[in-house]
């Protein structure tokens, strides 16, 4: 399938700012999905995108699949109902750092703990972009935002460590400066059974870069390339496959139980 068939062209132009990292994430996501559909590994009619509120959460609305644009922070909770009620569905959550790590942090860790079989793509641009660039739980300490004009006094979350601590079996971190690797990561996430989390470090030149000495998208992408490494290097953010294990997904345990109990009922 050509990825162009997956775009709701009638909705273009999109609402994202020029140079926004979410454009790269949308690009990579639809290409990965088109390849999976082409390979026959996924059925487009059984693939659902779910999102919360924020810039990144607008992405599903541009993709021609079933999609649920929900409330702030809650897409993973909605996804829990979708996946458990119909395990045939391939459920992908597109979320952001504010959506997933602040208001939705509770749902994130519990879905990881349950090992809900969904893929979570978190566009992590350090701020609340949609509302104009306020500090979020991933804003680096000392960084400027509209609500930390003197520098952020709070330490940030490492979202990958957070979900690994909660039990997520498949966790990767990439950046919008690594689109090819990101596409492969999405492929892996769709293949894995269980909770897959991809932390995508992304640029918000409009609301983060310009307050932190990186006015252009190019400068921000260079920063992402220079300050990340697939090896453990001091002073650099670790990217790559951080965990890749197998654990039985939640819906399988639930349906085994249902089968056992309902089978007993019929037998009895």
């Amino acid at each position: 399938m050509d990825w162009r068939e997956l775009i709701r062209w009638e909705r273009m132009p999109h609402i994202l700012c020029p140079g926004c990292g979410n454009g790269t994430i949308l690009n990579v996501l639809v290409r990965a999905l088109a390849e999976k559909f082409e390979e026959g590994e996924l059925d487009p009619d059984k693939t659902v995108l779910v999102s919360g509120i924020g810039c990144s959460s607008r992405l599903p609305g541009y993709v021609k699949l079933d999609s649920l644009h929900t409330t702030h922070g809650r897409p993973i909770a909605f996804a829990t109902g979708l996946k458990l009620a119909n395990p045939e569905l391939e459920v992908i959550v597109v979320t952001g750092n504010g959506d997933a790590a602040a208001i939705g942090g509770n749902h994130l860790i519990h879905a990881a703990r349950r090992n809900l079989d969904i893929t979570v793509i978190c566009s992590n641009n350090y701020v609340y972009g949609m509302t104009g660039g306020q500090a979020s739980p991933t804003t680096p300490q000392g960084a400027k935002s509209t609500t930390t004009p003197y520098g952020n006094p709070e330490p940030p979350f490492d979202l990958c460590e957070l979900v690994m601590g909660a039990g997520a079996p498949h966790v990767e971190r990439w950046t919008t400066a690594h689109p090819h690797q990101l596409k492969q990561a999405i492929h892996r996430a769709l293949e894995r059974e269980g909770f897959s989390f991809i932390d995508v470090l992304s640029q918000c030149p409009t609301n983060y870069g310009r307050r932190n000495d990186m006015r252009s998208p190019r400068e921000m992408l260079e920063w992402l390339r220079e300050n990340t490494s697939t090896e453990d290097e001091p002073g650099k953010i670790r990217i790559g496959v951080l965990r890749d294990e197998e654990r039985k997904p939640f819906h399988e345990r639930v349906y085994e139980l249902v089968e056992e109990v309902s089978g007993d009922e019929e037998g009895g």
Binding site: D45, V48, D66, S67, T71, F78, T80, L82, H107
Partner: protein, 373 residues
Amino acid sequence: MSEKVEFLQGNEACAEGAIAAGCRFFAGYPITPSTEIAERMSERLPEVGGVYVQMEDEIASLAAVIGASWAGVKAMTATAGPGFSLMQEHMGFAAMTETPCVIVNVQRGGPSTGQPTKASQSDVMQARWGSHGDYEIVALSPSTVQEMYDLTIECFNWSERLRVPAVLLADEVVGHMRERVVLREDVEVVDRELPEEGEEIEEPFPLEPDDHVPPMPVFGRGHRVHVTGLTHDERGYPATDDPEVHRKLVRRLCNKVRKRAREIHESVGYDFIERESDLALVAYGGCARTVLEAAEELGATVFRPKVIHPFDADLVRKLLDGYEVLVVEMNLGQYVEMVERALDAECVHLLGHPGGYPPTPERVIKEAERIQG
């Protein structure tokens, strides 16, 4: 006729009603005095091939229920005051996205943590107005354990017919009481209208006619629809800057319920016991039990609605115009406000009785005698 007679607690009867109505998904969070519903569902759902999940909070519970509904499965949650407050955001989301779902609220005293183990009817207005924005829901109030069963089924049926969240507005009295209940199995079960599988739908959310209930293009059937809580046009796409789209959308969301108020009242039913008297008593839910007794003793007319929302002002006028009306409720006055709007407000009186128990028949009689002075 296929039926089973049991001696059950109201909350257990509610769970049985849900199963009979076709509910196959429950997401919830423990809270007094509703917890027995979750416990019963966790036991019963796997027996009938359904899924029970205990979520991390009430916000997530209603979110999961809405997700399950979009996966094509009838779904329910159960809670009480504080949990109902947390669910309000998703009541609005369900209304906006036209998602059938059932929310049971076994009311307890509030505000805040209030009286966890005591009865109340103080969420009557929250059930309708608790979320922000213009919307309508269906709310039904049971007075007996039998009605915990019957009205749970009605909640599912009206929720499926109208694609709205439906609230079983119960209270601790009926939730924890034990009575004989007939578990009818030949109940009428309504399923949402679905478009043909695979059909491409140009306009999944038509704006007109203004009381229209469109078929529900549930996920996984090839419709490829976008569903959003933002103001959306006919295609389901965000149209937040268009005042006309917003007006038409919220008008339809309200009118599809409001214009069917009489139909809902007649289908669900109500008690109207007419006696030769200038006095009419009005009560609903657990509180109606003592009021019915008081009315008999007083020789007064009595109206017991089962449908709390949508309120049918014409019906109330038709039944109660010309009476001195005494509304009795376990709060400081909520349903009474709707009655006042329907009738000559000077003829409408309130016995507001918060505290955790319905007023005794003697208390109701004393109040009736006082207003008749």
